[in-house]
């Protein structure tokens, strides 16, 4: 039971942290509950589908299907987050002002919602499919206490996601979207680095040599804090040059385009 709870907790935690950040980043946008729930449900359905088709995915592309699939899912999430970040860099300040003025959620159209709903769906799909395969194996192996373990892991992972959300929404409105945008950029950069890792695992991309440094003595990837920081800011104890390159290029590209687009919008509004 404990083994089940522990694994489920780790997988749920990763998705819950992403959902926590995404939930916070859409704070004050009316209709977000519906969109994010839609993302959750679509992600769960997708997870079952991926688990069911795991054999076909694994066999695709001469045995590299799993890596290509994971890298594609990660890069799709990077794209959606990037699009959202650029959108928010233009509309975030206006959104915060309107929310402070009216004191409740405001309409912004559906764009910031559907982008992040897809991110939620992809996160749930990735982690959920692993949980589904694991539970299937446990059930086939005749393990006991699967349901209890599942609930325990699900609850504890979800609680940490909620704690993160509660912490983020305490940030004052004035700086809120700038901060969540910054956090989303780091999160997306970490996802891009993970995509590079998957492609290297399938030998489709060079690693660019061995690990650049090793901070596992300080904070290991397997620890709870290491895993949390891995999801939130892309922490890696032993990154390769290619992973670092993916991380830096994503971070710089998103920060620069957000900055550029925001400036152009500001010029257009004063002209």
């Amino acid at each position: 039971m404990l083994a089940v709870a522990l694994l489920v907790f780790r997988e749920v935690l990763e998705a819950a942290l992403i959902v926590g950040v995404v939930g916070a980043a859409t704070r004050g946008v009316s209709g977000r509950g519906r969109w994010l729930s839609f993302g959750l449900v679509a992600g769960l359905a997708g997870a079952l589908l991926v688990a069911w088709g795991a054999g076909a995915i694994a066999d695709a592309f001469e045995g590299s299907g799993q890596e290509i699939f994971n890298a594609a899912v990660l890069l799709a999430a990077v794209l959606m987050i990037g699009w959202h970040v650029v959108w928010m860099s233009v509309h975030g300040r206006d959104l915060a002002q309107r929310m402070r003025a009216v004191g409740h959620a405001v309409h912004t159209g559906t764009r910031p919602l559907y982008l992040l709903a897809v991110v939620v769906a992809l996160a749930v799909l990735r982690e959920g499919s692993e949980v589904a395969l694991f539970l299937y194996g446990m059930a086939a192996g005749g393990a006991h206490g699967i349901a209890t373990g599942l609930l325990l892991g699900l609850a504890s992972g979800t609680i940490l996601g909620l704690v993160l959300y509660a912490g983020l929404v305490r940030i004052p409105m004035k700086r809120f979207f700038a901060l969540t945008n910054g956090l989303l950029i780091l999160l997306a950069s970490g996802l891009a680095a993970s995509a590079a890792r998957y492609l290297a695992q399938a030998n489709l991309l060079s690693t660019g040599g061995g690990a650049l440094w090793d901070t596992s003595w300080l904070l290991s990837d397997g620890s709870l804090l290491g895993q949390t920081l891995h999801v939130l800011v892309g922490y890696q104890a032993r990154p390769t040059a290619m992973m670092l390159a993916f991380y830096v290029v994503t971070a710089v590209a998103l920060a620069v385009s957000a900055h550029h687009v925001a400036r152009r919008a500001a010029r257009a509004s004063t002209a």
Partner: protein
């Protein structure tokens, strides 16, 4: 735009080209009764190697290592090819995440 595509293509071939390495040293590994056999593999330092992991159990397993950053689900009765390294000399643990209490192994990387 075509020029951008051409550059992107060139970049891809460069990136992939450096990853192409004809005959890599290959190491076979089994998962049986949720344990690795062998539980210890010795590989050379500074070289990319190929691990071929056979899951002889009927249930899925996830081959995982935080130490050398690899993660792959292997369904029951299937095998997986996992490219590893290049790594510096040292001890690198790996485990089966779905049965971490029994499925533990170590990669010894030697100069």
């Amino acid at each position: 735009m075509p020029r951008t595509i051409r550059y992107a293509f060139l970049l891809c071939t460069l990136l992939a080209g450096s990853a192409m390495a004809g005959d890599l040293p290959t190491y076979e590994l089994n998962i049986q009764n949720h344990r690795f056999t062998p539980e210890k593999i010795v590989i050379p330092a500074g070289r990319k190697v190929l691990l071929v992991v056979h899951n002889r159990d009927a249930t899925p397993e996830e081959f995982e290592s935080n130490d050398f950053n690899r993660e792959k689900v292997i369904l029951g009765g299937q095998k997986a090819r996992i490219y590893v390294g290049p790594l510096d000399a040292g001890r690198y643990r790996f485990f089966g995440e779905f049965h971490a209490d029994s499925a533990q192994g170590v990669l010894i990387v030697e100069e």
